[in-house]
């Protein structure tokens, strides 16, 4: 016997309650980092939208075994009372879900997902204070899971003026450890990729970290753009038709998609052949079968590359300042590539930085330093699943030895890669790894090779210097032996001999230095030409690959 209520509809909240891994809320360490990420990303986005330089305070308090309280306070505009409970107490309420705009959170389930997680693990509501330079409102907030509705358990107005949003939420089944995947690392990387943000962090051991902003300019707002016509699929073409005011299919496509002009429709009609006549086709006539045919024809039709205006990279200047400020390297090089597209339709920009020495690399407990790769997607740090990520693979495919980085794993190097796109191709819902799109990998590789070339000269000079010092030390070690032996053989005192031997050593090293500089001058240009040639070869190789792909695309 099946009872009727077993067939009841599940709410989105209920779905996510059962599938919390989709929100990145799995694993004790990972969950806590994800929670901090969701709140902080929301705060930065809110501040930027309001034109405020973000100042975020994060505090983690350990309440018990695997039991933490998370405080996040920003200086943004807050959320007005009417929308506050909905924005945080209802899943999938974000304003960005159906827009092609480069933003940190893409699905609007982040913060409310965390509040749901808090409720699931502690049974307690989340405390929120919101204000915008006037009376502020205090709320204790949960989620009615069955109805996916906010559940306000307490609400009052505070006399104190407050500007911003303050969230305090308790969690169990989470943990904090010294790790390169913890909240501290997340916040540090966030500060590097967002030089206009100041972040203060109090860790569970009561240690304070402050990452001061390096620039006082809020990055320009990304423009909203229509999706490029080549990125459309059958279902989207059909569904979006409903929300357009146009009557004809051509009219609908023109106002919904990017890069569709009369020339495009001429070509599209050629691709469609006599099967289907687009002209005068009304939206009502559009069904699944026709939509499928149109999408297939679109793939065969030549299109103009998408607009890249919507992409806002960190910029070379800003990244330079934040690297200087936070990594304090001996040397570094920052590079932003020109925008391009992958899969023929999605614009993206790659930014890289190679930072050497100073606080670069990851300091281990035993005092040794390992290289580290900082991955970012639209300025958001990707801390998890490094092995599955196209960025990691691109970094590892570089022949670092060519750039005098002999032992890449064990050098004080930080590699920063930021991928900007309106649509980052993540490998999974956890949004921590970028999929292997050849165009993206090629761009990252080219950027890294160019930056590595700049770094390599410095490193090679440094290594040579190290070798020279080592040699000098060796000569000196043995000079004591020679002085001792000569005193026995000749009777001349060691004290008299040693300064003379030292002088001979110094003279010899100076002579070598001069000789080397002379030779260096002669071979330097030749050498540089060689490296550039090699890279050009590689560039044409990947370039050809790209052309080939594009050709395949239009010939299909």
């Amino acid at each position: 016997m099946v009872e009727n209520n077993n067939l009841k509809e599940h709410s989105v909240a209920e779905f996510f309650k059962k599938n919390r891994h989709m929100l990145g809320l799995f694993g004790k360490l990972r969950s806590l980092t994800t929670i901090v990420h969701e709140f902080v990303a929301n705060s930065i986005d809110a501040c930027e939208e309001a034109g405020v330089l973000p100042e975020i305070e994060v505090k983690l308090v350990k309440l018990g075994e695997e039991h933490f309280e998370v405080h996040v306070i920003d200086n943004g505009p807050g959320i007005d009372e009417k929308n506050l409970s909905k924005a945080l107490g209802k899943l999938l309420v974000g304003t960005k879900f159906h827009r092609l705009i480069q933003m940190r959170g893409q699905q609007g389930i982040g913060a409310s997902g965390c509040i749901l997680f808090s409720q699931m693990t502690t049974g307690k509501p989340t405390k929120v204070i919101s204000g915008n330079n006037c009376k502020s409102v205090y709320m204790e907030l949960g989620i009615n899971v069955e109805r996916n509705e906010p559940l306000i358990s307490s609400k009052k107005y505070l006399d104190k003026e407050f500007k911003g949003l303050a969230i305090s939420s308790e969690f169990k089944e989470v943990d904090y450890q010294d790790s390169n995947q913890n909240a501290l690392e997340y916040l540090k990387r966030t500060a590097i990729a967002n030089p206009h943000v100041t972040i203060k962090f109090l860790d569970p051991f009561n240690k304070m970290f402050v990452f001061e902003r390096s620039v006082n300019v809020i990055p320009p707002k990304p423009l909203e753009i229509n999706p490029h016509i080549k990125s459309v699929d059958t279902d989207t073409l059909l569904t979006n038709a409903k929300s357009s005011d146009a009557k004809t299919v051509i009219g609908y496509m023109k106002d919904t998609y990017d890069r569709v002009g009369d020339r495009f429709f001429e070509d599209l009609q050629k691709s469609l052949g006599k099967d289907l006549n687009l002209k005068d086709m009304t939206k009502k006539e559009l069904d699944w079968g026709k939509s499928e045919k149109i999408v297939k024809a679109i793939q065969k039709t030549k299109t103009i590359s998408p607009k890249t205006d919507a992409l806002i990279p960190i910029s070379e200047d800003s990244l330079t300042l934040s690297i200087k400020n936070i990594l304090k390297p001996e040397i570094f090089y920052v590079l932003t590539r020109k925008p391009t597209t992958y899969k023929g339709g999605f614009p993206f920009v790659v930014e890289v930085a190679i930072s050497y020495g100073g606080n670069s690399g990851r300091l281990l407990k035993d005092g040794s330093v390992k290289s580290e790769i900082m991955r970012f997607a639209n300025r958001t740090p990707l801390l998890f699943d490094p092995g599955a990520c196209a960025i990691t693979n691109a970094v590892n495919s570089i022949n670092w030895k060519r750039y005098h980085i002999r032992d890449f794993e064990n050098e004080p190097i930080t590699i920063i890669v930021n991928l900007c796109s309106v649509h980052i191709p993540y490998t999974s819902v956890g949004k921590q790894a970028v999929a292997e799109e050849q165009e993206i990998i090629d761009e990252i590789k080219l950027a890294l090779m160019t930056a590595a070339r700049q770094i390599s000269n410095y490193i090679s000079r440094k290594m040579k210097h190290g070798l020279k010092l080592e040699r000098k030390k060796m000569f000196e070690r043995y000079s004591y032996e020679i002085a001792r032996a000569l005193e026995i053989l000749t009777g001349t005192k060691q004290a008299e001999l040693l300064p003379k031997i030292e002088e001979i050593i110094l003279k010899k090293l100076e002579l070598e230095e001069e000789q080397e500089q002379k030779e260096n001058k002669e071979i330097k240009e030749e050498l540089e030409e060689n490296v550039i040639d090699e890279e050009k070869k590689e560039e044409t190789k990947t370039g050809k690959l790209k052309d080939k792909k594009l050709n395949e695309f239009s010939e299909e």
Binding site: K473, R477, Y478, I482, A485, L486, L489, I501, E503
Partner: protein, 362 residues
Amino acid sequence: MRNEKSLKELEKLGQDTLKMITKKEPPYVELPVRSLSNIFFDEKSKTIKMGDKTSKRYFLNTAHTRKYAQTISIASEIKKIIKEDATISIRDLYYALKHTLKGSKENLLENQSESDPILEDLEATLGLLREELNLTASTKGVIAGSLTVKDGKDIIDLGKMGSGGWGVPSNVEPETIDIKNVDADFVLFIEKDAVWKRFNEDKFWQKHKCIIITGKGQPARAERRLVQRFNKEFNLPVYALMDADPWGFYIYSVIKRGSISLSYSEEKLATPDTKYIGLTVSDVEKYKIPDNVTIKLNDEDTKRIKEMKDYPWFKNKAWQNELDLMKKRNYKLELEALSRKGIRFITEEYLPDKIKNKDFLP
């Protein structure tokens, strides 16, 4: 005085170095090249001799620095020893100098194989033997025969040394070892200790009026020097009894002509009159030795045969035939293989027959 001469040479080395340092020039020592490229076969003495090629060992050449410091240090240590009028072994010398370099974990000498070749360098460059530098090398050779020696104040009858024989001391120069009452017609230089024991047990030296000596494999210089003295001072012919393999041939070659690394002193060590009495591959037919006691040649053997065919003293018909035959038959054999014909076959039949027929290789 001999030691005054050594002291003078060592002090000169010190003064030369001091001069370079005072002139602010990077110091170096000039050493004769002790390698194949700098030896030649001297027709007059019929031994290997060192040529006049030299190389410089520089303090400030990274590849030389360590060796340079070791060379000067060893020279200074030897001066100390001579001053104290002591004689020490080359192993003592190694330990006396083994110490850690200032500000490092590195030792001036890590093991004796570092100090030994440098000592040889010094011998070659100073033109002095290690014995003249108050140094001794450990020896392992033994000897027996009808003769007496005076070693210091002790007079020793080498015919009454029992089954072990007399251990050859490291310094056998006439100043130390006086040889007397020699009642022998020849010297038999045996490669292997086990075979020497067979000859001693059978009192071969008594029956055949000879001196038997072994260096237990590659002989030390004392054994070679002693044999040279028997040959030069008492006109005794020297016969070498070796395994019929490239290694045995090589030891014979060192006894007769000298070695590359000691080429600077071979005039005092080699015995060019030495004759090769056995064992040879052609003996297999001559003495009806069964095939199954032979050993197949390995790659190293084949390589050595090829090299030896080019040695000037093997450039005669007899040796070329022997080397070709060994290569053709692709086998070698040990002296002990003769035991297959009976344990006393070697002392009672094989060797007397060889001596009687003067069946030698040159």
